[in-house]
């Protein structure tokens, strides 16, 4: 199989003398760093930790669902499992996954800057993340929360005595972590671009993060005030959502989903940015329709604010309002589809090779398309009456978030691993992991579409026996999926010491990050770059590398 991997001669290759990893030593130099690259690493370690806790919850859920009865855990415990799984996976993993790790690392380099606009705020955002995560762990150990990650009132305000307040505070703090990351990105992209780096020369990865950052800055505060109101209602008893005091429980849902719908775009847009970079590199071709992809990212962000009530169709919103939101939901699917079409057009007549990041990107394209289309089914009012609150919804969002976003995250980690660490991961093992993940994923979540369509409700520990076969299939898939996610932890850690030296540009990719050493210097660039070529300009790259001698160290 052909490959575009181009490594320096391993017998003479050495890691560069001075990098961001070795210019300072000691715990304090990491915990008090302003270097966006080190902060990215801090985030990477933290989110991986929380991913496995959330994954453990998922494992327990699937184990319980092997049998129709609630025999592994009690009903209340099951409620706590899916709640904690949701909260951890969404707020502590998916939202920061690409932006806070890969985005933090690369945005300054991609725009040609020495660091993000506000390095101290960047570090603060990581500490806020840790505090939020700590509060979630405390809520977990003190007995958990069982409201569902959606905290629906009046269940969360009046009918439960679990640790809703702690969980609410945790998400509040983690939300500010997200806000500060987004704020930093917007300011950096507007104000810190190198000479010659116009908006339309930026990599599409930057455009996606820009769009996601707008959502973070404008949407997250609404979640914050909603959580404050829930906490106030639980503590001193003000009745903003309490029907007995004249409040409307549905108002909570309006305010909650005003953030939580854009939140799904916060989660997916950075992944789409990764896919643009990966597909271009492994087809050796510029992304088809750069302007369309760039503008569609912003369009997704803008339209994403107009559709939130499609999560509330059966909750008591008026029919007319539901109609409006359903129509707008159809519209919001269009920009996402534009991206898929453009990526497909990029592949057409490209020189395609199948390295691991590309395998994950292919997985993304197929699985995200399925997930996205099922979202359209859910967005049509009639279908939603039947499908909502069933496993169909669960399958839908896992297809887009796990089959889509998590695959994009893994694609990005593998693609930029050589840049971040200076070392290559073992290609054979990584391909195996990618394949395992793909098979495990389909086996886990495809049966859930079927069982949901047949009527199995979500968030139930017990179910009618006729759904058992599909549930067993799903659990079997989950075990395979788990192996697929464990493997990268093992071989990526291994590669830190034993991986091949990568050199500046093992993928022969375009982009400023591939023109500097791997791992980069703390200040990223020796001299401020001046940009005079378009993004994904493979001709320029060919011209540049024609007479280049690869030296490392």
């Amino acid at each position: 199989m052909s490959t575009i991997i181009n490594l320096p001669d391993q017998s003479t290759a050495k890691m560069p003398k001075r990098t961001y990893l070795n210019n300072e030593y000691g715990l304090k130099s990491w915990l008090l760093t302003g270097d966006h690259k080190r902060i990215a690493i801090l985030y990477l370690i933290s989110i991986t930790f929380f991913f496995f806790i959330g994954g453990a919850m998922a494992g327990l859920i699937r184990l319980e669902l092997l049998t129709p009865q609630s025999d592994l855990v009690a009903f209340d415990t099951y409620n706590k499992l899916f709640t904690m799984h949701g909260i951890i996976m969404i707020f502590l993993f998916l939202v920061p996954s690409v932006p806070a790790t890969i985005g933090n690392f690369l945005i300054p380099i991609m725009v040609g800057a020495k660091d993000l606009a506000f390095p101290k705020i960047n570090l603060l955002s990581w500490y806020l993340y840790i505090i939020g995560g700590g509060l979630i762990l405390w809520a977990l150990m003190a007995g958990g929360v069982d409201t569902g990650w959606t905290f629906t009132t009046p269940l969360s305000t009046h009918y439960l005595n679990t640790h809703v307040i702690t969980a609410g505070m945790a998400i509040f703090v983690a939300g500010f972590s997200s806000i500060f990351t987004g704020l930093n990105f917007i300011v950096t992209i507007h104000r810190m671009r190198a000479p010659g780096m116009t908006w339309f020369r930026l990599p599409l990865f930057v455009w996606s993060h820009y769009a996601a950052s707008i959502l973070m800055v404008l949407g997250t505060p609404v979640l914050a005030i909603t959580l404050v109101l829930v906490i106030l209602e639980r503590t001193i008893g003000i009745g903003v959502f309490d029907p007995t005091k004249g409040g409307d429980p549905l108002l909570f849902q309006h305010l909650f989903w005003f953030y939580s719908h854009p939140a799904v775009y916060i989660m997916i847009l950075p992944g789409m940015g990764v896919i643009s970079e990966v597909i271009s590199t492994f087809s050796r071709k510029r992304v088809f329709g750069y302007t369309a992809v760039a503008f569609s990212s912003v369009a997704i962000a803008v339209f994403g604010f107009f559709v939130w009530a499609h999560h509330m169709f059966i909750m008591g919103v008026s029919n007319y309002s539901a109609l409006v939101f359903s129509l707008l939901t159809m519209l919001v699917a269009v920009p996402s589809a534009i991206k898929i079409f453009n990526w497909a057009a990029t592949l057409y007549k490209g020189s395609i090779t199948f390295e691991t990041p590309m395998l994950y990107a292919f997985g993304f394209m197929g699985l995200f398309t399925i997930g996205g289309l099922t979202g359209v089914f859910l967005g049509s009012l009639g279908m939603d009456i039947h499908l909502t609150e069933t496993y169909f919804v669960v399958a839908h969002f896992h297809f887009v978030m796990v089959g889509g976003m998590l695959m994009a995250f893994l694609a990005g980690i593998h693609f930029w691993w050589p840049k971040i660490t200076g070392r290559m991961y073992p290609e054979g093992l990584s391909k195996l992991a990618a394949g395992t993940t793909f098979i495990g994923f389909i086996l886990t979540f495809f049966p859930q579409f079927i069982v949901g369509y047949l009527g199995m409700p979500r968030r139930y520990a017990a179910y009618p026996p006729e759904y058992q076969v599909l549930n067993v299939l799903s659990t079997a898939g989950a075990s395979v999926l788990g192996i697929g996610y464990l493997l990268p932890i093992l071989y990526l850690t291994w590669s830190l010491k034993y991986g091949k030296i990568a050199g500046n540009n093992p993928w022969q990719a375009t982009g400023l990050e591939w023109q500097i050493q791997s791992p980069p210097l703390t200040e990223n660039f020796v001299e401020t770059p001046v940009i005079d070529h378009e993004a994904y300009d493979y001709d320029w790259l060919a011209y540049k590398t024609k007479h280049e001698v690869q030296t490392v160290g």
Binding site: R191, I236, K245, K544
Partner: protein, 246 residues
């Protein structure tokens, strides 16, 4: 080194720029730093707009649902306190703007004077607010803690022409007061944080930190202070002036 790979600005050209010591290393110039910090502050204010927007949405809905209850609740507000507080905050915005001007003019003593005046006015506001909240506590108008609908099912002595509410609608005054405390509470919290930062700024200004050309911090704090003032500008008519003519 790959530095020939991309055209770069030769290092010595960059050193020709004056780099005052307050400019951070990742900025090319003091101007870039100033505009960047300013833009960042505005984005933070956007998050504050959206933070308060949830409360305004709730207010809008419940005022329309329970208008008589909102009128009755509003009639128990201490109008002179609210109006005076509005004037106090407007004065404090003026003194803050003058503070920024002093920093621009590199007048250390004037800056400290204006900032101190702003702080004083901030404390006056909080003091009046505390007085109001105490009055509401005494009158049993605090939802969830000691709320009583007694006042609303009887005639309000200040508004003898008002009809007392039915017990059903009188219960809904709790919603009005819930929003009142949530909104003024959130606003007061932002005032407290502002006053805290102001104390820090006065100390720094004393040391001359803002009168050497680097007045970003004062300018950007000014933006925050003005924003908190704008929130109050909207809270005042919405909470205190619901149909004073009745």
């Amino acid at each position: 080194m790959d530095s020939q790979a991309i055209a770069t600005l030769p290092e010595h050209e960059q050193q020709a720029h004056e780099h005052p010591d307050y400019v951070r290393h990742h900025f090319a110039s003091a101007d870039q730093q100033r505009e960047t910090a300013n833009f960042g502050m505005w984005l933070f204010l956007l998050t504050e707009i959206m933070f308060f927007s949830g409360l305004f949405a709730a207010y809008l809905i419940y005022r329309n649902w329970y208008y008589p209850a909102f009128v009755a609740g509003s009639h128990y507000m201490i109008i002179w306190a609210g109006t005076l507080n509005t004037a106090v905050l407007i004065c404090s915005s003026f003194t803050m703007a003058m503070g920024v001007y002093s920093a621009e003019m590199r007048n250390r003593k004037a800056l400290i004077r204006w900032l101190s005046l702003t702080l004083l006015l901030g404390f006056v506001f909080l003091g009046i607010k505390a007085y109001e909240w105490h009055a509401e506590w005494v009158e049993h108008h605090v939802p969830g803690l000691n709320f009583s609908i007694e006042d609303f099912t009887h005639v309000n002595p200040a508004y003898p022409a008002d009809k007392p509410l039915s017990p059903d609608m009188a219960e809904k005054t709790q919603t009005y007061f819930s929003l009142y405390f949530a909104m003024t509470g959130m606003h007061a919290l932002h005032m407290c944080i502002g006053c805290g930062i102001l104390i820090f700024l006065i100390f720094q200004a004393w040391g001359g930190r803002y009168t050497n050309g680097h007045m970003n911090t004062v300018e950007n704090f000014g933006l925050y202070w003005h924003f908190v003032d704008i929130v109050w500008i909207f809270l005042y008519p919405l909470l205190y002036l619901i149909s004073r003519h009745q």
